[in-house]
């Protein structure tokens, strides 16, 4: 808390540090600071800038690299550039807005003028042959002149009748078209009314060119000149647009500058206080507390920072903390949602599984090299931070894991090496020859992961001091599941197999009894206890279907292997053609395998994640954590290098 005059500095510091999540319900003191006026001003400037940025975008697209068209465009600025750009912010924003408005206005004017000219040309074009200036075609003192159209088939007879009725009425054809004739008629003014009536009866439709003067062909020539000058003006406006677009970086920087200011004003809504003091509450990570305290208390002597641990009834926001290796797996966890405060962060535990699964789904060392190299290159290109960086780190590790798994199963661009040099590359086994081994490997990994999940839950229970739950709910299940396996499969384990199987059966019985007795322990009624205990054995099917679900590893891995081999088969066929054959084969192979990587990488990532979420997390994960969202520098267009110092 502190004196009201320090609010601005405090908020700026909070934003710069980016380590505090400001809570909305600060004490019970109503907020005495009304940022509405400031907000309105910032909003209006931002909407001007948004308009200008949109105009720029409409006329000159940002030239994006292929990566940026996927990740979105960000402008990178150094500290100095940023400072220069945001100087005199509001003024520059207004200036840019005026430029954008002017460009839009003149473009609209030009478009309107162009339409006008084109319409006129269309009107006058058929009258090109008329050699009389149009302004002279009017009712004179003695003779009336008029231009008009009539029916081509009947006009001669009809006008003949009219001429018979009105003495001195005559006409001349200006242009005859298929469905219309264009005429100029003359009549004596003494009988003007009769003549007009007779002409109307003859089907003569008057056309007037009051807005023009001169003979039509001259007018058209003039209009065409105008059209050319419009093109010239358009080129001029093109230069204006170029000038406007040169301001784009500044507009981006300014937009973000005001967006940050807006965020600062917005956050003061959450402040409480009295007439002269303010108070604000928020969450800060313990590790950042000291830095925060120093920075805030540096502002002035009259500011106090008080800290306390979260209260019993409070639900603090959640942030995941891991070492550099395990933090790469945080994006996987975060996609599912944040774990509940105080529960286990699954990121480090899912890591090894995720990597192996990803590797199995790709099953190719060469593909792994491509993926890892691509991710490494992207880190350099995008200079991604935070989540994006973690994700790319994950991709690098997944790529390396793929190299390992691929080498084990002998996939080097499919069976290319075997086809070319007859090398048998598989260290463990070749999935093409022994697909069932692959399937069993998948199930085995599934069993391992599910056991790990149950053990983690047991660990979590023990951590909380709940030994009974750990034994009843996890140890019993582990024994039960293991003994099912032994009872069913023990017989195949060599000479002592039958003994193992029968031991398994006894164990199975014992653990089943244990489960029946303990799984219903939350019921008071003993009958209900036993009933619910019996029912719990049904969960076995859940574990079975979980394990079957790991067959997808085989499905995806096998798909990728077979497809790679098919690519090799197809693309190597033209290799026999002299000279160009090998070139065609090489290009075909590169494209074929890239295609295979592309369609498999999505599946590999998604299904490796899914196995974590549904099969693994289901055993121990407690969802429902609220994400820790510190108040900080979040920008839309611009990344400032060393943003914290900006």
């Amino acid at each position: 808390m502190g004196h009201e005059s320090r609010i601005g500095d405090v908020v700026t510091t909070l934003q710069r540090l980016g380590t505090v999540e400001v809570s909305a319900d600060t004490a019970d003191l109503s907020c005495p600071f009304n940022p509405a006026a400031g907000l309105a001003h910032v909003d209006s400037v931002m909407s001007e800038l948004k308009y200008s940025i949109d105009i720029m975008g409409r006329h000159r697209r940002i030239s994006k690299t292929a990566i940026e068209s996927f990740t979105g465009y960000r402008l990178r600025l150094t500290d100095d550039e940023w400072t220069t750009y945001v100087e005199d912010g509001a003024e520059n924003a207004h200036r840019i807005y005026a430029m954008a408005r002017a460009v839009e206005q003149s473009l609209a004017d030009l478009a309107a003028a162009e339409t006008r000219i084109l319409t006129s040309c269309e009107q006058l074009e058929p009258w090109k042959e008329l050699r009389v200036p149009v302004e002279q075609v009017t009712a004179g003192r003695y003779v009336g002149l008029a231009l008009g159209t009539a029916e081509p088939r009947s006009y001669e007879a009809a006008l003949g009748d009219a001429a018979a009725a009105v003495d001195g009425l005559s006409w001349e054809v200006v242009a005859a078209e298929k469905d219309k004739v264009r005429l100029m008629v003359a009549y004596p003014m003494s009988a003007a009314d009769d003549a007009i009536r007779a002409l109307a009866q003859a089907g003569f439709a008057k056309v007037s060119f009051e807005q023009y003067s001169g003979i039509p062909s001259d007018i058209i020539a003039q209009l065409e000149d105008d059209l050319r000058s419009i093109e010239a003006q358009r080129a001029q406006i093109g230069r204006d647009i170029d000038a406007l677009v040169e301001e784009r970086p500044r507009a981006f920087a300014l937009y973000d500058f005001f967006a940050l200011e807006r965020a600062r004003l917005d956050v003061t809504h959450k402040f409480g206080g009295t007439e002269r003091t303010f108070v604000v509450e928020g969450w800060v990570q313990l590790a950042n507390l000291q830095e925060f305290r120093t920075a805030i208390e540096q502002i002035a002597d009259d500011i106090v920072v008080l800290d306390r641990p979260p209260g019993e009834d409070e639900e603090p926001p959640v942030e995941l903390e891991n070492n550099r290796f395990a933090s790469a797996f945080e994006p996987v966890t975060k996609m599912m949602g944040y774990p509940k405060q105080g529960s286990l962060d699954p990121s480090p535990f899912l890591g090894p599984f995720f990597l192996v699964f990803f590797g199995l789904c790709m099953t190719d060392a060469a593909y792994g090299i491509v993926i890892a190299a691509l991710a490494y290159w992207l880190i350099g290109q995008t200079r991604a931070r935070g989540m994006g960086r973690q994700f790319l780190n994950l991709l690098i590790m997944s790529g390396l894991a793929t190299v390992f798994v691929g080498a084990m199963l002998g996939g080097w661009a499919g069976d290319l090496l075997q086809r070319l040099f007859g090398w048998r590359t598989a260290i463990l086994f070749d999935p093409m020859e022994e697909p069932t081994k692959f399937l069993i490997l998948s199930f085995a990994l599934g069993v391992i992961q599910i056991y790990t999940g149950i053990i983690l839950k047991a660990y979590d229970n023990i951590r909380r001091g709940d030994w009974l739950s750990a034994i009843f709910d996890q140890v019993f299940w582990l024994v039960f599941l293991t003994s099912i396996g032994l009872a069913l499969g023990g017989g195949y384990l060599g000479p002592s197999g039958p003994a193992i199987a029968s031991a398994g059966q006894k164990l199975l019985l014992a653990s089943a009894i244990g489960l029946v007795l303990t799984q219903g322990r939350h019921h008071k009624n003993p009958l209900m206890r036993i009933g619910s205990g019996l029912l719990s054995l049904y969960n076995t099917t859940g574990y079975m279907s979980d394990i079957v679900s790991y067959a997808r590893l085989f499905g995806l891995g096998f798909t990728s292997t077979v497809l790679a081999s098919v690519m090799n088969d197809l693309m190597l066929r033209p290799a026999g053609i002299p000279v160009i054959g090998p070139i065609i084969a090489l290009i075909g192979l590169v494209f074929g395998h890239l295609f295979n990587i592309l369609i498999n990488i999505i599946g590999a990532y998604v299904h490796s994640s899914r196995l974590q979420y549904v099969e693994f997390f289901g055993k121990f994960f407690e969802a429902g954590g609220r994400r820790f969202m510190p108040f900080g520098m979040s920008t839309k267009y611009v990344d400032v290098e060393n943003a914290k110092g900006a």
């Binding site: 996927f70 067959a551 997808r552 098919v566 998604v606 899914r610 979420y613």
Partner: protein, 159 residues
């Protein structure tokens, strides 16, 4: 003709495996593409995310193609050494193709619907896009399982 009937049936198996999942994937990908185009008119920067969603229901077509290819390899349709199949073998190949032919077809359409709904997530909350992908991927499980069944069956036919 009689001696050839088995081979004809084998070809029918290939055709089934490739045709129906292909139909399903076309429908699914088409659904996502249509709703995705709407989002791209508003915000072209979302092209990458939309493309990813659109690709998801396309895998069934690949699975079907893969099953078809495996049958082709088994009956020697690739490489010119076409084997003569008995009628029984031909029918076995058709049956082997059935899981992916039917499940691939249906699941691609449903997956397309889920992914098309996920386009809404990309439009309104782009940061939650991963969840849209996972939702669509839940449908994929059954296509993968049927692919697995089909492939194992194709391998099990003695030719």
């Amino acid at each position: 003709m009689e001696g050839f009937l088995g081979t004809i049936l084998g070809f029918l198996g290939v055709a089934l495996a490739i045709i129906t999942p292909g139909i399903g994937s076309s429908v699914g990908v088409g659904l996502v593409g249509r709703s995705g185009a709407g989002v791209i008119t508003e915000d072209p920067d979302k092209f990458g995310s939309i493309l990813l969603l659109e690709a998801i229901p396309g895998t069934q077509g690949v699975y079907g193609f893969l099953t078809g290819l495996m049958i082709m390899i088994r009956i020697g349709a690739l490489g010119g050494g076409l084997r003569t199949l008995t009628v029984g073998q031909g029918i076995l190949f058709i049956m082997a193709a059935m899981p992916i032919a039917v499940v691939g077809w249906v699941s691609a359409i449903f997956q397309g619907r889920v992914a098309a709904a996920g386009v809404g997530i990309v439009a309104k909350r782009p940061e939650e896009m991963g969840k849209a992908v996972i939702l669509a991927a839940m449908v994929e499980t059954y296509a993968v399982l049927s692919l697995l069944a089909s492939l194992l069956l194709v391998f099990s036919v003695n030719v």
